[in-house]
């Protein structure tokens, strides 16, 4: 039964992600007292992009955009099937690395800047995700996400600091203000996604929807064996990320890097030490 649900989720992931993305745009508009686009707007965007003429810089660049989408989908599939948490984190890293490679493969300066900034944001959030994964391992004795579901208590009560650390890096992962240096439409015009056009940009655009699902399923893991708690946490994270996005200005990449080093990384380290202490006692 669980397998059926997770396979259904994996197959429907782009559709659910698109709905979440559309809902997010409405929520953001309502927070600014605007009406906002219709709920199905991301799909309209995607179909329009599929219809447009394609301008390709070179074929590898366009191909990397498509591979980015599918590798992210693959990472999401392993996460939803209850696979290895570290493997999932590294597959997600791989899919972002493909996008960075695409960014460096063109001659556009904005594309290079975006690739640099994406690499810096990876440096900012990746250690924290891995530390969270390790503390989950110490608690449950396994890296598998299925072991979190079989654990007797929700992770939120055992590792509250890990949840706080995850909340601190969620805006970096989702490229939301104040940590949206990687995308920064006013500065680097979308960064790595600048040179994509037509259906290839459609793939990168749809990968953003998958990223949403990826982030929110990481949040859901903290309330894994209590679905109401899990969905509540997802809703809380959703509102938190969007409220923060609407109410804050962009910081520079140095400030972002300093913030993750000074605040988020120590929080996840303390969390790791506490979980080791719990394990020993």
């Amino acid at each position: 039964m669980d397998l059926v649900i997770s396979i259904l989720l994996i197959v429907m992931a782009p559709i659910i992600g698109g709905l979440i993305y559309g809902f997010e745009r409405i929520i953001r508009a309502r927070m600014q007292r605007r009406i906002g686009p219709p709920l199905l707007q991301p799909f309209f965007d995607f179909l329009k992009l599929a219809d447009k003429r394609k301008i390709i810089v070179h074929s590898t660049h366009a191909f990397l955009g498509i591979v980015h989408f599918f590798s992210l989908w693959f990472a999401l599939a392993i996460l939803l099937l209850g696979g290895d948490l570290i493997l999932v984190i590294f597959l997600h890293l791989l899919s972002t690395a493909l996008l960075i490679l695409a960014g460096y493969s063109t001659r556009s300066i904005f594309s290079h800047l975006g690739a640099n900034r994406t690499a810096i944001s990876i440096l900012a959030y990746e250690p924290i995700l891995i530390l969270i994964g390790v503390s989950v391992f110490i608690l449950t004795g396994s890296f598998d996400t299925s072991s979190i579901f079989n654990y007797r208590e929700p992770l939120l009560f055992k590792l509250p600091l890990a949840f706080i650390a995850l909340l601190l890096i969620l805006p970096i992962k989702q490229k939301k203000s104040p940590f949206d240096v990687a995308e920064a439409h006013q500065e680097v015009v979308g960064g790595v996604e600048l040179e994509f056009s037509g259906i290839f940009y459609g793939a990168v655009y749809a990968a953003k929807w998958l990223d949403e699902i990826f982030c929110y399923s990481l949040v859901y893991l903290f309330g894994a064996n209590n679905p109401i708690l899990g969905l509540g946490l997802v809703l809380f994270a959703f509102l938190y990320v969007n409220a923060l996005d609407n109410s804050s200005a962009r910081v520079s990449y140095k400030q972002m890097w300093r913030f993750t080093l000074m605040v988020a990384l120590p929080v996840s380290f303390i969390n790791l030490l506490l979980s080791i202490l719990q394990h020993l006692l």
Partner: protein, 174 residues
């Protein structure tokens, strides 16, 4: 499946200031703000020519900006429409005949919708954009190029060189 219907539902706008006095640009910003909110039509101000459908130009074309204008127009993938926003972009406005201006963007690129007014009102801009959408839905994906170029666009069997350079207007417009 006919995908033409979706063009009207998600037009992405590229706004280019070809030497405008910023009056029209402020009105375009007002369109994005809560009162007029053009995002309810699915429009986004992208700032990236490769992903946008509507080129919204303000200002008379100054000699400095015309090459950028032609280059940006060439970088936009078809189907695309051009909306000239304000009296200056339509005809040159008060700058018509001056030594540094060209008098209207239709000297360089084919324009689909002209929106008049010195300081266009946001209502007029929205009306012009919606008329542009009607044109966008009917357009084909045929290659469109600028009116006045220094050299012909290079075409080979498998690719089109889109690096276009605008030619000067020799005669001063009376």
């Amino acid at each position: 499946m006919k995908l033409n219907a979706f063009r009207k539902k998600s037009p992405w706008i590229l706004h280019y200031n070809a030497g405008s006095c910023n009056g029209c640009d402020i009105e375009i910003l007002a369109c994005l703000a809560p009162k007029y909110d053009i995002e309810r039509f699915g429009m986004i101000n992208t700032g990236n020519p490769k992903q946008s459908d509507i080129l919204l130009v303000t200002g008379p074309v100054t000699k400095r900006s015309r090459e950028r204008l032609v280059e940006i127009y060439a970088q936009m993938p078809e189907p695309k429409v051009v909306v000239s926003c304000g009296a200056c972009a339509c005809t040159g406005g008060v700058f018509r005949g001056m030594y540094n201006c060209e008098g209207g963007i239709d000297q360089y690129i084919p324009v689909d919708v002209y929106v008049g007014g010195c300081g266009t009102r946001p209502e007029q801009i929205i009306d012009g954009l919606l008329q542009a959408l009607e044109i966008l839905a009917k357009k084909t994906k045929d290659f469109e190029e600028s009116v006045r170029l220094k050299k012909q666009v290079g075409r080979e069997a498998w690719q089109i060189n889109r690096r276009n350079v605008a030619a000067e207007i020799k005669t001063v417009i009376q």
